[in-house]
Symmetry: C2
Subunit: 209 residues, 2 copies
């Protein structure tokens, strides 16, 4: 498939399409029209057609989308046709919550190590994934090809550990720490700032939007 | 202060301003120019001036912003000058992680109850916050005024519990469940879909943007 330039806004919506299509697949739905998908997702049918037209000719007039095909193609665009190895830095509740999400594994994100500074956690495992000490991180990264690091530790720790990660060739950081990391330009980052999300909610609550 | 219509995009950026201004306050910085803030936050100075002009006249030419004042005013807009009572539904790792964030408490979000279906968690506490059983939720909500519910349970459970919450007057839902809840129009929602965030990261990794 030839890939056109896809706008950032569309990319942000793709995982949601992927989720709905995955649910439809589970329900053994083979085809769906843009208007049915529109009702389901609470998005206008024209928005759906516009978004999905980005990938060229999935839908056919009066015939609808082939759910399986569309699911697969969106998965490819999102990079879900590959597998990734991942480490989690910070074995607190949030790190352990991520380690326990079997869903990630199913999507191809294999968590192969968790790191922490707390010596009491040394040797403990979460879902058979060993917790190691942060001072072993460099060596571990030297011996294992890791694609993604999730940072679930306090801001100061995240700033300290980031150079170790990038020095060892990690190209993608999923950052839950309450800071904007300073990283080389060729490193991609996705931030999840929970406090900021909660502030958005309190804004909405006060302005009822 | 008279409040103008603030665009959604600006609102999304406010928590980040709030975070930087909070850090500056801790470092006892009293004033900051848009160009200094620009360097710090890696945003253009004109963007900063435009964003902050929304609130009218905080900055003075050649004088900069009063950090404390700006921090306070942005806090007010975000609704952080009030306190909120909150429950967490789902006492798994993620729910416990949220319950353990002391930061939320400091911002005025008081977590007063955690609910789960697992009887083994009954009577257990997280940071002195009691874990109760979901069948006690209705009664608890009848006896306590709760503003916000965080949903950290599987999608099917979230769909089931949502009507109980809204029937008891909860107006804001912080949804971590992997579903789009069907809610009355006067309920505000903020979604945190972790799988979708991870897919954004794998998209970026594959397209290096």
């Amino acid at each position: 498939m030839e890939e056109r330039e896809i706008s950032k806004a569309v990319v942000k919506r793709l995982p949601r399409y992927y989720r709905y299509l995955g649910n439809l697949l589970e329900e053994k739905v083979e085809r769906i029209s843009s208007s049915e998908l529109s009702r389901l997702m609470n998005v206008t049918a024209s928005q759906i057609r516009q978004d999905l037209n980005n990938f060229g000719g999935f839908g056919q007039q009066g015939y609808g989308y082939n759910v399986k095909h569309l699911y697969k193609e969106i998965g490819k665009i999102l990079g879900l046709d590959k597998t990734y190895s991942m480490v989690i830095i910070g074995a607190g509740n949030l790190g352990q919550a991520l380690a326990n999400y079997v869903r990630f594994e199913k999507r191809g994100f294999r968590i192969i190590g968790i790191f922490d500074v707390n010596p009491r956690l040394s040797g403990v495992s979460v879902r058979r994934i060993p917790i190691m000490m942060i001072d072993e991180l460099g060596e571990f990264l030297g011996n294992n090809k890791i694609d993604i690091a999730a940072l679930t530790l306090p801001a100061s720790g995240a700033e300290e550990v980031a150079p170790i990660l990038t020095d060892h060739g990690i190209k993608a950081i999923w950052n839950f720490a309450h800071t904007d990391l300073h990283l080389p330009e060729d490193i991609v980052v996705e931030n999840v700032h929970l406090s900021e999300s909660l502030m958005q909610l309190s804004y909405k609550l006060n302005h009822m939007i």
